[in-house]
């Protein structure tokens, strides 16, 4: 296989682009796609300070690397979720990445700073672990960005993530969610601006980017995410993509171009998954209720005996 740009030996084939690339031109493609997403969706201004939501996985570390490479002032923020060795390993990769590059990484531990962890929260709430995990991440990323004076929170959601979420929301016509499925959510109601600069790149591209850039990341899947709906939607879309390359890109980006605006009136007033109009009486974060969903979670788990991953019914067997 030859690189489309220079005709040198290719290291990766990208069926969605109907092209193969050498290392140099593949990395350039990734930078160009991120720069294009930022410009097209007006995500960042050159002097903005960005807080990157880092997990230690391929997407968030690639995103951090790309933003710094593009000249943005980007710091990282990682949350210790308390999911056993998986969380310890993930945080370790984030620390190593920051240390090797002299970047600033902020850290919060759910267990040490808020008294609970994700396996315990899942058991107490009797809901899927991804629910408590997502709630905690949104709350803590938002708060860290506002307290740190950052202009935006950047997350590593890639094209596969966004296409899978769109697929799930479309299957059930969740119009409230469709209304806010955008690559940028402007700052308002006490929430920081949220941006997704990887929406033009798939997860295979992000994994390849990390390999080619020498970025070590946690390859193992979260033991609590096994079999979740999001993964099943991705499998379905990948089956379609294998027969018709470019389908995921068209599904998501044509939604943004031709359909997203039609759902704008369905957005709830607070337009955040946790709702927001007033202020939480405990932490001061935006909330529709007197106490926000995160503080309620802290309260519910306060007296719970910590459980290991294996004690939850969602752990991979």
């Amino acid at each position: 296989m030859k690189c489309r740009a220079c005709r040198g030996p290719a290291v990766i084939d990208l069926p969605a682009h109907n092209a193969n690339f050498c290392s140099e031109h593949f990395l350039a493609l990734c930078r160009d796609q991120v720069a294009k997403a930022i410009e097209k969706h007006d995500m960042l201004r050159p002097d903005d300070r960005v807080l990157v939501a880092v997990s230690g996985g391929k997407d968030s570390l690639a995103l951090w690397d790309l933003l710094v490479d593009l000249g943005y002032r980007a710091d990282g923020f990682v949350i210790g979720l308390g999911i056993g060795e998986y969380s310890d390993g993930s945080t370790g990769f984030a620390r190593d990445f920051a240390q090797q590059r002299g970047l600033t990484l902020h850290e919060v531990s759910l267990r040490e700073d808020h008294g609970f962890d994700i396996p315990t929260a899942a058991k107490v709430t009797r809901r899927v672990p991804c629910s408590a995990c997502g709630l905690s991440k949104r709350h803590l990323f938002d708060r860290a960005a506002l307290e740190g004076g950052y202009d935006a929170v950047a997350t590593g959601h890639n094209l596969d993530d966004e296409a899978a979420v769109l697929f799930g929301n479309t299957l059930r016509w969740n119009t409230e969610y469709l209304a806010r499925q955008r690559p940028v959510l402007p700052a308002r109601d006490g929430f920081p601006r949220k941006i997704k600069p990887l929406v033009r790149l798939g997860e295979r591209e992000m994994a390849a980017y990390c390999v080619l850039r020498g970025i070590d990341y946690i390859v193992e899947e979260c033991p609590m995410a096994a079999g979740n709906k999001h993964l099943r939607y991705k499998e379905a879309l990948n089956a379609i993509e294998a027969e018709s390359p470019g389908s995921k890109h068209a599904f998501y980006h044509e939604f943004l171009a031709r359909a997203a605006e039609r759902f704008a009136d369905d957005a709830p007033a607070g337009a955040d998954p946790d709702g927001a109009l007033g202020t939480c009486s405990r932490c001061g974060s935006p909330s529709t209720n007197d106490v926000c969903a995160f503080c309620l979670l802290v309260e519910r788990t306060a007296d719970a005996v910590p459980v290991s991953i294996g004690e939850t019914r969602w752990a991979r067997r």
Binding site: C130, E221, E241
Partner: protein, 65 residues
Amino acid sequence: MKVLLRNPRRELDVDGPVRVDTLLRRLEIDRGSVLVIRNRELVPGDAELGDGDEVEIRPVISGGA
């Protein structure tokens, strides 16, 4: 050659030479859901893997949203 698979982590012994795309077909692995890394270098579908190579088939699909 040694072939490392992930999630769950396991190792296979495979006779070479064999092309990357042939190996993936033989293992019934979708090419779009993995990267193939030979001796720490990314390789495309037409690369030939030899007996002395250390090969990793790395999944790229993650479940977070």
